[in-house]
Amino acid sequence: MREKEQLIADLSALLGVKNVLTDATALSVYECDAAPSFKAMPDVVVFADTAQQVSDIVKLANKYDAPFIARGGGTGLSGGMLSVQGGIIIALNRMNRILEIDLENERAVVEPGVVNLLLTQAVQSQGYHYAPDPSSQKACTIGGNIAENSGGPHTLKYGVTSDHVLGLEVVLPDGEMIELGGTVEETPGYDLRGVMIGSEGTFGIVTKAVVRLTRNPQASQTALAVFETMDDASNAVSTIIGDGIIPAALEMMDSLVIRALEEAFQFGFPLDAEAILIVELDGIKAGMQNQTDQILEIFKQHNARKVDYAKDEAERQQLWRARKNAFGSFGRLAPNYITQDGVVPRTMLPKVLRRISEISEKYQIPIANVFHAGDGNIHPIVLFNERDPDQCERVEHVNMEILTVCAEVGGTITGEHGIGVEKMDYMPLIFSPADLQVMATVKAIFNPTGLCNPGKIFPTAESYTKLGLKPDAGRNF
């Protein structure tokens, strides 16, 4: 980055002084996302209001060789918006307009700063919603969801962000504005829309999106089962899916989570239970009871000791309250935690959960589990105290071993949080240098200067060393 003072002056001239933050206190708000163990200070934060402004900012960034990074709600969990090389953070929260709602075609056109839940709320009374529902949906933005290809509990049945976005307006890293995809389901040529989604903000900045809206289901039914062992609960999960039932959501919580929840909220769960499953069916009311009965039967076969199902919406909300409050209760368990995000084949869940508990034992680091069992998307919560350097070192090993297990059983290292800076080092666990080289090739086409969100996703030479791989296996991506 060159001539920082002049860059800031140019940005101020473009956007007005009040839309340019340079004060250290103000900047510190932007030094991390929701994974606070990673921090980096930007040089300047700017608020964009239009796509044209985003394009102008990006052009200035190029002129001064300044790295630039888009930021939405700041709820990311992998440090994807960290300004690791300084530069400009472009805050998109003010681009929060819902531009068009077309219920007949089940589409909406939105700006990137629209908060996920607000889009759903805007169409709820007409019987629609926006399907991807990350747990942070009260604060995260559609632009951030697109960057991360976000999921959520209901992706088991409804798919991830990529399945719900038809078209994008993008400011490319050179400032040019283009459209990818469209307002119809398919457009000719390579699916660059699909490639852009999940590129973690390294291929450009989305300034507008055409998204699908989904009709609300006619009915839903939520059941909860308490199990004596994690094995029973995980086997129940595979049986449900294997028997041809696709629930809208299928979530699991382990004993540590149950106890934390009980302490905090007193839901009345048995404290000696090993696992709780929450399953939600949705769709057409007729025949739903048949599937519910089938699931209750599967629970019984797998030795569920208590089964409950919601008889009305209030009871349903109550059952979900436990799951949704789980993260809020971890403060009681330890001062800090890291949420892992591996995915494993559903049938591997019993094995993987056992391995995680062995890893916890080995390093004397408690690990809680609350996760999207139906997808095999585990979220081991690694609990520690960041002021204890010895614990921090053990946590490093814990992370690496958990992700290694996920890779070994044919899984992946992240299902919805993204690689960001948090998991760059682990990419060689699942991708060969040749695989990564292809990704680097595509990145070089979109982002030839590398100024757009640098220092993310790709492993470094040290990453290979850390994994015990030959350093020469590493390439410079």
Binding site: E104, N105, N149, G151, G159, S162, I178, E179, G182, V184, E185, E186, T187, P188, G189, Y190, D191, L192, G194, V195, I197, G198, S199, R215, Q218, S238, I241, G242, G244, G283, I284, A286, G287, M288, N290, V343, P345, R346, T347, G376, G410, G411, T412, T414, E416, H417, G418, K423, I430, A434, L436, V438, M439, T441, V442, K443, A444, I445, F446, I457
Partner: protein, 441 residues
């Protein structure tokens, strides 16, 4: 330029005698009037890599293929040296039914895979034309979908991972084997629908779906396109979850009439769920002025009708039909379908609309009287109005005489530059299916 004899002999070193398709069968892989010099059938990924390395060294054009059913899709080729068919790479690599995913080699036939999955009451929810012959690799490369896309989407929504051999022979993977994965860029999307222009897919991991317990199809005839479309969209916008809801103007399986517009709606799932939908659907059809609703539950009858729907309009290498695909907003279907039916019925034009997905297919018969310049002009005019409605028009099958007058893909908008750069970086010598994809990529 090598002669085919010498080329045969050199390729025989790589794939053996049995890896070269006998001359007599080469007709399966001719297209646009071109006869490939040789059709090579590698028996392993290693052989496939070697063939690509060989072609790259000799700067020979490679046309990747499966069974060859979609080779007719694309602009006229610049040159056709080797057709590389994956049909001998046809094994199921990994199938754990309780995971509801499967990994297969790309040359496996869709029908063969469905048969394996059916033993566990599962299936892949893609039903493109040529379902009996086409391969998974071909379906993914062409992003061929079909009527089931209404609830399940296309290959873009169901492919979890790919292995691909690039033009230089390098084998790489994208995605993975699990249902949710955001590690690295989603490069699956780049290869799906790329018609082999970026590499040859050798392995595919797919999401599966449970086979519905009960299935039923309803048909209803309507006097006008508008009434039929309105009724269909009513059903799509209701609480029902049809597997498909199509509008056709031709006779199919004895259940429909060539003189009427017919709505064909399929439902599947729990028997009670299906029963409720059947009653609802029938009600809506009757209230909206249908001339009569037929309920088809008998398996044989249902499959007969379904296979006509599924196979229409099969893109082919034969040149007796021009097939055009319109991607529209679903609210624009009535207008375009009515226009085509009004102007085209007398010329034997058949239409099928996938109402929920906004797709309208036209099958235009070609006769000895067809003036291709006029036809190209008509299609170009239609394309213009489709583009104004923010949709697009693709000519999926056409005789070379028509392709000479029209770009089958149409305008690409401002993303064309990026697409060309991607092609240039992935296939610098332009040897993979050259000139046939968008912007002569």
């Amino acid at each position: 330029m090598e002669n085919s004899r010498a080329l045969h002999d050199e390729l025989k070193y790589i794939v053996g005698e049995s890896g070269i398709l006998p001359e007599a069968q080469i007709a399966d892989y001719t297209f646009d009037g071109y006869v490939p010099k040789v059709v090579v059938l590698p028996a392993s990924v290693q052989e496939l890599q070697d063939v690509l390395r060989f072609a790259s060294k000799k700067t020979l054009a490679i046309i990747p293929a499966g069974a060859g059913t979609k080779l007719g899709i694309g602009n006229l080729p610049e040159k056709v040296d080797i057709v590389l068919a994956t049909t001998r790479l046809d094994s199921v690599v990994e199938y754990e039914p309780a995971d509801l995913t499967v990994t297969v080699e790309s040359g496996i036939r869709l029908a063969a895979l469905q048969a394996v999955l059916a033993q566990h009451r599962q299936y892949l929810a893609l039903a493109p034309p040529h379902s009996d012959r086409c391969t998974i690799g071909g379906v993914v490369s062409a992003n061929a979908s079909g009527s089931l896309r209404l609830q399940h989407g296309t290959a873009r929504n169901q492919v979890l991972g790919l292995r691909v051999v690039h033009g230089n022979g390098n084998l790489v993977k994208s995605g993975g084997k699990v249902v949710k994965n955001v590690a690295g860029y989603d490069l699956n999307k780049l290869y799906i629908g790329a018609f082999g222009t970026l590499g040859v897919i050798t392995e595919v991991t797919l999401k599966l779906s449970p086979i519905p317990m009960r299935e039923v199809i309803l048909t209803a005839g309507f006097e006008s396109v508008q009434d039929a479309v309105k009724t269909g969209l009513n059903i799509v916008g209701s609480q029902m979850l049809p597997m498909f809801i199509n509008l056709i103007n031709f006779e199919a399986g004895g259940a429909t009439d060539a003189k009427k517009m017919t709505l064909v709606a399929g439902f599947g799932g729990d028997p009670e769920t299906v029963a409720w939908q059947l009653a609802q659907c029938r009600g809506i059809m009757e209230q909206n002025g249908s001339m009569g609703v037929t309920v088809i539950e008998d398996k044989l009858q249902r499959q007969q009708l379904w296979s006509v729907i599924r196979e229409f309009p099969a893109p082919s290498r034969d040149t007796k039909t021009v097939i055009v695909k319109l991607n529209l907003k679903r609210t624009d279907i009535a207008e375009f379908a009515a226009k085509v039916v009004n102007e085209g019925s007398d010329h034997g034009v058949q239409v099928m609309a996938l109402l929920g997905s906004g797709v309208l297919y036209l099958a235009i018969p070609v006769t000895s009287d067809t003036d291709f310049q006029v036809l190209a002009k008509t299609i170009t005019q239609l394309r213009q109005s489709v583009t104004e409605a923010r949709g697009n028009l693709i000519v999926e099958t056409a005789p070379p005489e028509l392709k000479q007058h029209i770009d089958v893909w149409g305008p690409l908008g401002d993303a064309a530059g990026l697409m060309k750069q991607i092609k240039a970086r992935f296939d610098p010598n332009g040897l993979l299916n050259p000139e046939r994809f968008i912007s002569s990529i």
